[in-house]
Symmetry: C2
């Protein structure tokens, strides 16, 4: 099975809309069925949130967005989809009725994935004519940002269906956690349920308000759990003696009379009121939409931090970006148009690039130019492999002119002209443009080829020299850049 | 009560050492008693971790580190301390014995704070002669980074003791959560206990391994809990209908047969083995020290993200930094030594500043020089307040010479010479040195004073002009920098 082209989503509530957004932004066409009149509008809002978040999250460009089509029935939505995602209310009979309709029209090799957060796949598939392709794929809100998806097969689910589901969710940037033994509520929701139950007791008994409980989480162990789970965190609490030491100390506490968990708080009108009122007091100053934006901003930044630190969910993001980058092809050197400066950078000015003056800060200009130099090096053959085995170019001198401002969120690109290239020397001139064509800045760089073992100047490989000379010869015919060879202050 | 000067910490395990590190780095002298011979060495390691983390976390400088003194008894350690923190094993009799000794020697107005994670303060203070000053201050590992501290008073604790404890922990960058009703295990550990119990069941029944459970947390809801807690997250899951809608949907699930929580897993040798072995398989490739560094790096970056986004624990960090900034003094302009270039930067080359060539990447050089320019601006009076009301200097031209390499972890500093300063112009020449004295790079900048409303060139305030001219006049007598006014390629 190759990369999927289309998906159906049955039910467009919070979870269904999250799936739709993630799929669409990954270039997959999505057919949706939801009987509610408000569904299209709600879906649009979630897609907008997702688009906003991805713009901040991802360095590479996403593929062209898929098309979104609302259909009038489950059968019509399912007809040509490679995967059918069911996200209807948590009632077995409702779900089974959906599968019946899906099976009538779906392609024979399409996967049917339930978003249920608790019902066993064996029960879900009980009345299906081809139960082997039914799998639970349980995601977490917001589906377009949180990588986790729990995959659970039922007794009749085929290995192939599980493998295909893994591949499909990985492809769209998610982290599949295959749960090998069926259990109601799977893993994450069992943990969440236990906390939820305890938290309700605390509110019920007036030990703490909803806000105090939330603060006990997010100022403390919540910060640990975003990166390590329960066991790895406790491993650290045991000090160098590790897990065995910790568990032998902490284990017995389980039998302490520390918890109400042996009992279930009764769900009285009074308790519902108490929780709702406390929650209003805690968060009521923000609309849900504002809270969603805040949550997404934080999630985006956490994921970027984890990517930078090569840890946990950041690894999933890194692999996703690598896949996106791989599909980006570099033009063959022989086919490059050398009658103009070469395109060496396309990027967006991210929020975190701003300085206290409210525009792109000066060191980010050099970061852009540095990336343009790296791309220029890759064009002439100094790529990752070359750097690890032969050498690299080091910048020895830089001159930057700032000509115009660029604001956060705007797009820029760079072009590069080779001024001189021979032997160990590479003299570059970069132009940084706003997408509207304004020249923002220029940078002139002298680079020297260096042997990374001796850290001394050295001659590049024949291939690199030939390419450098080839570009240099062509670029000599171009107009000499304005500001070339200028010293700081010449103009002032 | 004014800012505290000294603290005693009784017991220097993981939690005690964390307290020690946080206090010391906040400029507070700490007297420690711990009978273990290894204590000083373990404490040193934690202080080193904390120092490393704070360097990355905090923008302002911390006050001069407090002094650390190990004492030979509880009484000696407690003698002159403003607060005595008890962090000994979780046995009531052991803790009560400590308080007896503390009360013999402590100052009458000193607070006594227990780090217990579960014992009621009313029980802790039962045999004390001045029980009003006993309070529970329950922190979370790593104490030097996680802001949460649960404050719980017993039946005899005074309001004054609670208020003083709040003030003291806030002063050292923590978030006090005052729990108004005594309950065993307080809030956070009750929630943790419930998850821990459920997780052990999952391992016990072979539903999931420790690694799978950790992944179910950190790829999913853990990312939510680092910023919002349980209730605020669920408020979002209810969509615009909010908490009441969510809870009326989700509430009934509590009565589903979803959990083993009605029972307690028996703590057999077999279960201990299983958990320890799975944990080794999951995390055994890292030493505890490596995991601690990774955890701290992630925590530091999460806290920075939250500060940037003005949310949750980031607000605590922001307030902490604001307090530190207020106490930081800049040398009076009149007292500056203008017979040499001015010191404008002292920093360390951080890990994330490396490029693929294994040394500080070129854009970080400009970041250093940019910070040096910012400091130079602040010296002549262009500080935050000036920028928000009058204007700022924008860099219009830059020339950088790279003369030597600098590796990760090494320290550098910058000095700045004013080449010319008059009217709207400010012409600077920065030197970046390795701490061993090697000149690493130079940067020449032309800056123009700009009115931030019109975004056009403008004349600075009289104070700024006077100072700029004053430095310029003095610096004219200095040697003209080598490489001044040079264009890229002049030398090559």
């Amino acid at each position: 099975m190759t990369r999927i082209k289309s998906a159906a989503v049955i039910g467009a509530g919070v979870i269904g809309s999250g799936w739709i957004a993630r799929l669409l932004l990954n270039g997959i066409d999505v057919y949706v069925y939801d009987p509610s009149e408000e569904a299209p509008q709600n879906v649009d809002k979630v897609i907008e949130n997702a688009g906003r978040a991805y713009k901040k999250l991802l360095t590479p460009d996403l593929p062209k967005r898929g098309s979104l089509v609302f259909k009038n029935s489950v059968a019509e939505a399912s007809k040509s989809a490679d995967i059918i995602i069911e996200a209807v209310p948590e009632r077995l009979s409702v779900k089974q009725a959906v599968y019946k309709e899906v099976e009538h029209s779906a392609k024979s090799n399409a996967i049917i994935a339930s978003s249920t957060s608790g019902i066993l796949p064996t029960e879900l598939q009980a009345e299906m004519s081809s139960p082997d392709r039914l799998i639970v794929a349980h995601p977490f809100n917001p589906v377009y940002l949180l990588p986790l998806v729990e995959l659970v097969g039922g007794s009749k689910t085929s290995t192939k269906a599980i493998e295909n589901a893994k591949r499909i969710v990985t492809e769209i940037g998610m982290f599949p956690l295959h749960i090998k033994k069926e259990i109601p509520a799977f893993i994450a929701d069992r943990l969440l349920e236990s906390v939820w139950r305890e938290a309700l007791w605390l509110v019920n008994d007036d030990i703490a308000t909803t806000e105090e409980i939330d603060n006990a989480i997010r100022y403390g162990f919540g910060l640990r759990w975003a990166q390590m789970g329960l066991f790895e965190t406790y491993r650290l609490a045991g000090g160098e003696a590790g897990m065995r030491h910790f568990i032998s100390q902490f284990g017995p506490c389980l039998e302490w009379p520390w918890t109400h968990l042996m009992d279930v708080p009764e769900f009285t009108e009074e308790l519902v009121d108490k929780v709702s009122n406390q929650s209003d007091e805690q968060s009521g100053q923000f609309s849900i939409h504002e809270l969603e934006k805040k949550r997404d901003d934080n999630l985006v930044d956490f994921l970027k931090v984890l990517k930078e630190n090569r840890w946990g969910a950041g690894n999933t993001l890194k692999e996703f970006e690598d896949r996106l980058n791989k599909t980006k092809k570099r033009t063959d050197f022989a086919k490059l148009d050398l009658t103009a400066p070469l395109l060496t950078l396309k990027t967006k000015v991210l929020k975190e690039w701003a300085d206290y003056n409210g525009h792109m800060t000066e060191s980010r200009y050099l970061e852009c130019f540095s990336e343009a130099s790296t791309e220029m090096m890759a064009i002439v053959g100094v790529d990752e492999e070359y750097i690890s085995s032969i050498g690299s170019y080091f910048t020895v001198e830089t001159h930057i002119r700032h000509l115009d401002e660029v604001l956060i969120g705007e797009r820029v690109y760079a072009t590069t002209q080779v001024i001189h290239g021979a032997g160990k020397k590479l003299h570059l001139f970069h132009y940084l443009y706003h997408n509207d064509g304004r020249l923002l800045a220029t940078a002139e760089h002298m680079l020297i080829h260096v042997n990374l073992e001796t850290r001394g100047a050295s001659i590049p490989s024949d291939l690199v020299i030939n390419r450098v000379e080839c570009v240099h010869e062509a670029h000599q015919k171009l107009k000499k850049p304005e500001g070339l060879a200028r010293a700081v202050g010449d103009k002032y």
